[in-house]
Amino acid sequence: MREPAGAAGTKEPAALLAARSTHRFSGSFRPGHGTRRTTRRTAGPAGRGGPLPYAMIAPLVVFIGVLALYPTVLTIIEAFFHIDPLTPPDHFAGFGNFSALFADAQVRQSIENSAWYIVFGVVLIVVLGTAIGLLLRRPFRGRGIILAILILPWALPGVVEGVIWSWIYNPTFGVLNSFLKSLRLIGQYQLFIGSHQIETIFLITLVQVWQITPLAAIIVLAALQSIPNDLYEAASVDGASGGRATWTITLPLIRPALAIVSVEALIMSLNIFDQVYVLNANAGTGASLMSTTYFLTFQDLNFGAGYALSLMATVCTVIISLVIYRIIYRKVEFS
């Protein structure tokens, strides 16, 4: 079986997704790509430009410039300043904020915790999302209803999900305790959240997995449905069994989607906050990088430390995303 290779097109959903998430890195995707020729041919003002296009993009430029790009630049600069809202002005601190961070046991704990959030989150979301995508690949009666049920957790606010699950995990009358005890898996009711670090992180991750897996499944499903059927037919003629065809044909073909899903899962896991805030608040057992950043900044009013931690998390996100892309992403084309 030849491994398909080539440039990503933009007509299939999977390729569309791939283009979205790779354009920054591959440079193969240009705005207006594919329409340039037609616009040139156009006789009307559409092809010529004039002041209208500038008016149409002006609000976008203002919003993105003032409320997204400028704040990002501020984070980069301010991470190197000592900032105390009570005693201005701010003064240059070099790497002072960063060394103070690493001296803080709470911060070191949250870095370790976030590493666990990422491991659990990425593995569970990618594996479950792919499994659900494969399960729903072929049309069957009732698939529409299953899809609607599937996306429900994705559409609900993370903080509400945290609250709902906190009662499921409740140590004195939670349904998880009752269920496990009725199966005789535990002898007596347990304190699930807050007693053991790994257990706490795993159970909080599970709440986010519940929310994000539907997104992963939908992306994988869209990629699966863009694989031509004759590839499967060729595989079954060659005698490949269902499981082997999945490993050797299907999964390599949806690598762009798997890369997107992995990066999504990574970013969500690195940003995990709502569920941690509700289920674990500021306790060290489950504190994530984001929750520590929040409490450092807005409760302790240590803005310099908050900026430094934010910058580190941002740089980590970008680097790990790039690494995941390098490993997983392969361009795929069906001719």
Partner: protein, 281 residues
Amino acid sequence: MRRRLRRLIRLVALGALVVWSLFPVYWALKTSLSTNAAAQQNPVQYFPAHPTGVSYQALFGAGPESADAVGGIGQALVNSVIEVTGATVLTLVIAVAAAYAFARLRFRLKGVIFYATIATLTLPVYATLIPLYRIMSDFGLVNTYIGIIFVYTSGFLPLALWIMYNVFLALPSSIEEAAHIDGASTLQTFGRIVIPTASPGIAATAIVTFLFGWGQFLFPLVLSSSNSTEPLTVLLAAIDSRNAPFTVINAAAIVAIAIPAIIVFFLNRWIITGITAGSVK
């Protein structure tokens, strides 16, 4: 035989998927309809024996269990609707106009501006949270509707732009060319032909944007946590940390998810279209 086994495994997997997706929501609903005593029984009852609405009465300030611990949910519901609807409308207006310009018109710095906007999709929350708080407080926009609507809009724009850009690219440009030849201006073509043709894509973008907005927690927690502007998510976390009866907290959770749940129930096809075109949350 083997075929039957496979079918059975499939059915079990589908059943597990349905239970996994629905059970937590069902459980919150069941708890909210129970009395405190019934909800604390050991072992748990999986179905409510005597459903009751007292928690909802308490939540909206009408029942005997109503106390200072709860309250304000009506205001928070109004806040959520105003903030999320405002941000959705503003995002759509800006994104649709800009996406059309990027997809069809020619102007200077087009590529740079497009990439700079889409690149902000990959920024984690960390990159902007603290400076946004400082900018908003400098302009006196903390705890105002307009402040949170602006921040939401800046956050939702890149995805909305990306989805709408792909929607416009997928439209055949021949109709627009025909309109031009008939003497229509770009603006007339855009308003009378392009927008109606692209309306399914616009609807999908609007629904996905609205759901994002409804789920926001960290930004409003920092920027909009006064009683007069806090959305449902912030109020729910506050109620949760106070000593409210847990059946009432579950009722508040159900109120907070009612609107997105209704959207999923009726408009799930649009959501899937939106996710597939945008592939990001």
